[in-house]
């Protein structure tokens, strides 16, 4: 029969490996036995630290407390619990924190797309629609509405798009109105980006200047450039 708890010696201390398929009761039982055995085997006064590895089991805080109560005394301590699984909530948080966030959709009039971190939008922002990000915004598609980068005041954020239509770009507290007149000759498809310069003035620049103006942006956005 497989043991529910395995003890392994490591450089950093002892590992208690809990079998994920065993019941918590049998684990607690075996830990108790193990503790007694260890107490007998080690000389008194010798301090031991344990790492608890629960494999693909997620220990509840109650269960952790029960294990701690059994193990911990004057000489034995548990330094950490490790698990190979996390809750979906935590996973979502981690996922959200990874940048940039990819969105494939159309942002229509009256809609607000709110993003933590950087946003890579593939799709259109229609007139009256808003995309907002605490980081930078990169648009593949047409920007005809409002793009607000650095929403919480980050003036290092940029907005990158091909500015072929009337639109509005905001970075932090700065506003830039993109105005296209019918007879404006420069109907180029060139990508441009909007940024806030050293004098806190909002400016538009062609894409090839991005690396000189914002060298850190590549690292920020997970090597997008």
């Amino acid at each position: 029969m497989n043991k529910a708890v395995t003890l392994k010696g490591r450089k950093e201390g002892f590992q208690l490996i809990l079998d994920a398929s065993a019941s918590i009761d049998s684990i607690l039982e075996e830990i108790k036995e193990l503790k007694v055995q260890l107490k007998n085997d080690t000389q008194t006064g010798h301090e031991l630290t344990f790492f608890v590895k629960s494999g693909i089991r997620k220990l509840s805080s109650d269960e952790k407390k029960q294990i701690e109560e059994i193990i911990e005394d004057d000489h034995f301590t548990i330094s950490s619990f490790q698990s190979e699984v996390i809750l979906i909530d935590e996973a979502i948080k981690l996922h959200k924190a990874s940048r940039p966030k990819l969105e494939v959709r159309t942002v229509r009039s009256g809609q607000i797309l709110d993003i933590e971190g950087d946003l890579l939008l593939i799709g259109e922002v229609h007139p009256g629609g808003t995309v907002r990000a605490t980081g930078s915004i990169f648009v593949i598609g047409e920007l005809k509405g409002i793009a607000h980068a650095g929403f919480n005041g980050n003036e290092n954020a940029i907005v990158l798009a091909n500015f072929r239509h009337n639109a509005q770009v905001r970075i932090g507290g700065n506003v830039h109105v993109v105005e296209k007149t019918e007879n404006s000759s420069e109907q180029s498809d060139e990508l441009k980006f909007v940024y806030v310069n050293d004098l806190h003035i909002i400016e538009v620049s062609p894409l090839h200047n991005l690396k000189t103006i914002r060298p850190e942006i590549g690292k920020h956005s997970g090597g997008l450039f």
């Binding site: 009039s109 009256g110 809609q111 607000i112 007139p127 009256g128 808003t130 009337n166 639109a167 509005q168 905001r170 506003v175 109105v177 993109v178 105005e179 019918e182």
Partner: protein
């Protein structure tokens, strides 16, 4: 102290927003200082027709909720020298985001600075309508010769008459000369008599209205169109001028004129 005028209709699609933009522009052309207020929160259009859509930074909801000062939200129309202004509606809120007391206070502020405050009312008779009429001194009622629009107009007159505003003034919009002459729709006299309110003006159906609105220019800027003339007359009547009503009858072109005459 300026005057606040609400432009309303009950029914949708009869031309409230177009009328607001054009009357406002016409008043501005007469060197009046005008502020247009879009009350169609959630479905705003007035900014589009004026070609100011991408200039909106703050809106009416930002003002009533105290996030910004009133003057920060107002957009100046660059085509006029400090004559025409717009207070835009919010697009990501609804009509219940504002109430009558807030409107009265807001319009009161505006009346101090502007000679005319035109309020573009949303369709319907719900909160948006109540807000729009709450602060108005006068009302302009827009209808078309269609019986459904006239029914709704009648309902609106009843509602407005119960307030301090009194009877609204009537604009009959989108008149198709041929249909009215053939008796397919009620004619101007019939509509005015039926609704028994003062007629402020008539506007003929004109493709140019849509064409120029699509470009962000109110049609009234170009005086050569019939609709433009209609709106200019309405603005002059609002200012107290006596202007005769436009003729419904098309001048019959003689055979020779048709043959040799220039177009129009």
């Amino acid at each position: 102290m300026g005057k606040a005028i609400v432009v309303t209709s009950g029914k949708g699609g009869v031309g409230k927003t177009t009328s607001t933009a054009n009357i406002g522009t016409a008043l501005a052309l007469q060197s009046k200082k005008v502020c247009l207020v879009d009350m169609d929160i959630g479905l705003r259009n007035l900014d589009v027709i004026l070609g100011l859509e991408n200039r909106i930074i703050y809106d009416i909801i930002d003002v009533v909720e105290g996030r910004v000062k009133l003057h920060q939200a107002i957009i100046k129309d660059k085509r006029f020298n400090d004559q025409l202004f717009l207070l835009p509606a919010a697009q990501h809120a609804d009509k219940n985001a504002i109430n009558e007391e807030q409107m009265i206070e807001l319009i009161g502020e505006l009346k101090k600075d502007y000679e005319y405050v035109l309020i573009d009312c949303p369709a319907g008779i719900e909160q948006g309508f109540k807000n729009s009429i709450a602060a108005a001194d006068d009302a302009i009622l827009v209808t078309t010769p269609e019986i459904s629009a006239i029914r709704d107009a009648d309902r609106i007159i009843g509602l407005i008459e119960q307030t301090d505003i009194g009877a609204p003034k009537l604009i009959i919009n989108r008149i198709r000369k041929s249909m009215m002459q053939n008796g397919d729709v009620m004619d101007i006299d019939e509509i005015t008599r039926h609704l028994s309110v003062e007629l402020l003006g008539i506007v003929f159906e004109d493709d140019e209205v849509v064409r120029s609105s699509n470009k962000g220019n109110p049609v009234v800027l170009d005086p050569s169109h019939v609709a433009s003339q209609g709106y200019r007359n309405i603005a002059r009547r609002l200012l107290g001028d006596t202007v005769p009503l436009m003729k419904l009858k098309e001048e019959k072109k003689s055979f020779w004129k048709k043959l040799f005459g220039k177009k129009n």
